[in-house]
Symmetry: C3
Subunit: 423 residues, 3 copies
């Protein structure tokens, strides 16, 4: 809740802007939760519960969903201070008829049963989207996703390329690639053929973006075809430097196809995978603040025709992002990602962007959600922060009228996404 | 002073929580100041006075204490804008009957005499603790401290290990270690024996933590016994890489004994020693922002049973700390250290922790003080900031009631310390 | 506009303090704009316009000034959210009789004509300075500037040394140096002679500072004369490591002459040149957050007699600057530079400095301007932020009275500059 009448009014108006969510992990064949387990099974809860003391055994497949929910809720009182808890509370209130101020273990059964009943309603998906005022949701599709059997107007395909950039040494990845494209990759040329087919498939099925997440030490660079071919030859004991070079070269090819197929490229920069090796699933990744967008300077220079929508993991690097987006025409600021997706950092990062980056180059927020129910609380968190910044920095200082401030909000939450991704 | 009624009320209530101060440099045999020189002789004042122009000669032993106080106070008008000056003013008001708004050189004599008189009172120590509402204070004990002759209920021993990790090449350190343990260290095995005896001595004398401060480039790692033995052999011209490896290996052994003896390990990460070589004593150390908790990932993975209470030096690294503590069950956020211990950084860092780290995993604040008189102004600084955050982010947004907000404050200032350190 | 009566009052009073602007790029022979093109031709506008979509062709010499203004203003609606736009709006209101709330393309002709008429007035320069309450402005002079033909009381010379440190391999730079000093540089000794003559020339013409901007990876260090001589020998294919060493050595000599001639040394730390190679002029430089003041520790230790006025590019490094200035007597905090010169970062960085650095060691702000018209909006931006901080952190908390707060503002904006640079 906002404790400021002007900000509250702006927030109410902002909530009327139909959202286009430019990045999520929604499964379009199963976009909503079916039980409360699908909600509290979100890694933001399991990892916090585990961090606060929950045994990972509660997450094993043989544990029943109700017991798993109970195990997470049991720990939740230990993290009821967090932004993530607020999302859960807001979901319970907005979608599950919860009326209280606090959620505790005592609410577990009632909430579980209510959720099961409501989520089974045939209009649940529509209701969740309507209640959240979300019009379209971008997906994160594996490169071999057939992209069939769902409403591609509502769920916009997006080619996720992490496997291609970082895991081409894995036989299963090569096999999937061969199956998806009909091309056995063994050289730069065959890789190009395979990638071209992937892009053709995705673009013809309505894909509007290519995306990848990258570790802090990643440096994109072109790799000559002969060299790339050598790096693509199967070899189990390839040294790390060669793997890094191959990743750089594959990435560079992807940028070339983004240019050819006129697709924006979402770069999610800074995550190290499996840092906490014994963590819960998806709760193992962390970052190293020692990374810089200077690593991407050659890329931004080489591909002026490609729009790069850049997400960063730390507030320190956000200042770089603000500056690079202020200078490079093809660099957009994109959302508030993962460890930066809490109000203290969103507020500071968002204010800096609004003060220094052209307003048409900013993608305000994306949900990163796995289930549609999270769109509402996550976007609400952002909308409240945005409303407060608009009130303090724009309307009260007489820089913008309220109407102009709402126009800015509309750019950040809708119009920029439409224009940049051509949806 | 807080300029907000709700925050002011929360602050008043927070002041009623009896503090346990989990990190200080108190000498339990001489815990309070005896003259004003013991107050303004704190390195926070001598270094600021020197930075503002005071000649280091004023700190030489042959200068009388009253003259030294005069020399520092003379410069103080040049740093009466700082948080450190506020501490001094608050000490003067709370403990020395000072009634004014500003302290200047003109107050020197009166203040010096008043301090000398008051500090000589037999109940001074009790009065200072009572007035500050501090119940227990953790110490920082040299490894060869006999830990005798003081109230170990009030002053909790803590094994400080910097000398062991970084200075085992110094003959005096080896001699002290031999004397304290009866073991001449010359190999991994003898070092283990010596360390075991230190831990036994400390634990049997009520120690509740092991602690160390670490430079920004430190990377803990296990070192095999034979290799560690080679690194422990006396040699005056050992290359830096070998010294670093030895430090990493000794540190790793300490973590093993923390596990064996069930002691939390306080890691104070990021300080480079003797950067300003001509600085005043203890006013020579600075940092390098280019450091990452990724350097500790292997440690956190290897010792899930050891609780690591982590302090960092920069607000940039605080975002890493928030994220690592959110993910790793054995990583706690600990206080606001040194160059981050000013309101602008405390506020931002504390807000981020409260929004993303389970509330049970946060040690709100410690004093780092050398004399008990500093507990009150330092904790008050933190309590005011905390009260304002609780007012703005929790109570006004209706996330918590006032009572719940005070419960959170109690965790941060008392209950978490009790549980984590088992006091 | 400030939305706080106390801050507004403080701001009004602060505006009465006559400014000394300690860093600009003013051409004293042509200090003001002559057309609106001189205003919107500032790289802050051309780069934002280009970033938002403007073709660089609009900046070619054959485009008429009115058309160029039109091209930039056409894009300006896309960055009317930025601090830079606010400067422009404030210039239009304060100097060009603009009465509206928004500037759009529709205002172009009227504004252009009005500007041309007003800027042609013979008292324009005096009027701009008087209206801005600026008394003196430091320049940035090439090392071969004759420093003649302008009012050196109003425009204070400053020796800019980037060319000497980084471009001594360029024949044109060597030729300019030979012409300016009568010394053909080919060795450490001849370089020293040439530098001495430059310093003599500058000091005898009223120069009050030496200045240089430095890349993030720069590490100053002394280079022995024989080695420096070898590095100065003409050679076209010198490896990067040797160039870096030569730069470090030349820089070190400059610090020695700063000591000899008692000149403060302005260090502007962190900029990488030509990162966006296809950017507009002066809109190509960016930074790498991975830099540390530890790189300057040896310098600060070696030259205790030289005052270093340090500017940094990132808010992350500002915490280092706060700490280094708190410890090193010869390190001053200086202004809010370039990518840190937006309110979100100024506010955070300024608060930290005011809380931890002696008030006599802080240079509050400089304009960095190329035309005098920018002094008013840039200093106003800073004055508003400062007024708000003084209101919130000092007056409302009863740390300072309003009078004392204004005294602090006077130090930051005038008296420290006078004392440190001896003007």
């Amino acid at each position: 809740m906002l404790n400021d009448l002007l900000a509250q009014n702006l927030y109410s108006e902002i909530c009327h802007i139909p959202l286009i969510d430019p990045h999520s992990h929604i499964d379009p064949h199963r976009p909503t939760a079916r039980t409360l387990d699908d909600i509290v099974g979100y890694h933001y809860y399991t990892e916090l519960a585990h961090s606060a003391g929950m045994d990972k055994a509660s997450l094993l497949p043989d544990v029943g969903p109700r017991d798993r929910v109970r195990a997470v809720l049991y720990q939740m009182t230990q993290f009821d201070n967090t932004a993530q808890y607020m999302w859960f509370l807001e979901i319970a209130r907005a979608f599950l008829n919860f009326q209280g101020d606090r959620l505790t273990l005592a609410d577990c059964n009632w909430l579980y049963d209510t959720a099961q009943k409501l989520m089974a309603r045939p209009d649940w998906e529509d209701w969740v989207l309507q209640r959240s005022n979300i019009e379209k949701v971008f997906l994160t599709n594996d490169f071999d996703d057939p992209l069939e059997g769902f409403n591609r107007e509502r769920y916009v395909p997006c080619l996720r390329t992490d496997d291609l950039v970082f895991h081409l040494d894995r036989p299963d990845v090569r096999a999937r690639l061969a199956k998806a494209t009909g091309v056995e990759v063994g050289s730069a040329e065959t890789l190009q053929n395979a990638l071209r087919r992937l892009f053709e498939h995705f673009v013809s099925h309505g894909a509007k973006a290519c995306a990848v997440s990258l570790p802090p030490d990643f440096v994109p660079q072109p790799v000559p075809p002969e060299q790339l071919s050598a790096l693509l030859a199967p070899r189990s004991d390839r040294p790390a430097a060669e793997l890094a070079q191959r990743a750089a070269g594959v990435f560079w090819l992807l940028a070339e196809y983004c240019r050819t197929f006129d697709l924006p490229f979402d770069l999610m920069i800074g995550v190290n995978r499996r840092v906490y090796r014994d963590g819960v699933p998806q709760g193992q990744d962390l970052f190293d603040q020692r990374t810089s967008l200077i690593q991407y300077a050659e890329l931004f220079n080489a591909f002026p025709e490609v729009t790069f929508c850049v997400s960063v993991l730390s507030s320190g690097q956000n200042q770089e992002l603000v500056s690079y987006s202020w200078i490079f025409p093809n660099v957009m600021t994109s959302g508030h990602w993962w460890y930066s997706n809490i109000p203290a950092y969103i507020a500071q990062d968002c204010r800096a962007r609004l003060q220094a980056v052209p307003k048409t180059k900013q993608i305000g927020y994306y949900s990163d959600m796995y289930k549609l129910e999270f769109g509402l609380p996550k976007f609400n968190m952002y909308r409240r922060i945005l409303a407060q910044i608009l009130a303090d920095d724009f309307v009260r200082t007489r820089v913008y009228t309220e109407t102009q401030a709402l126009g800015l909000a509309r750019l950040l939450l809708r119009d920029n996404v439409r224009r940049i991704f051509n949806v």
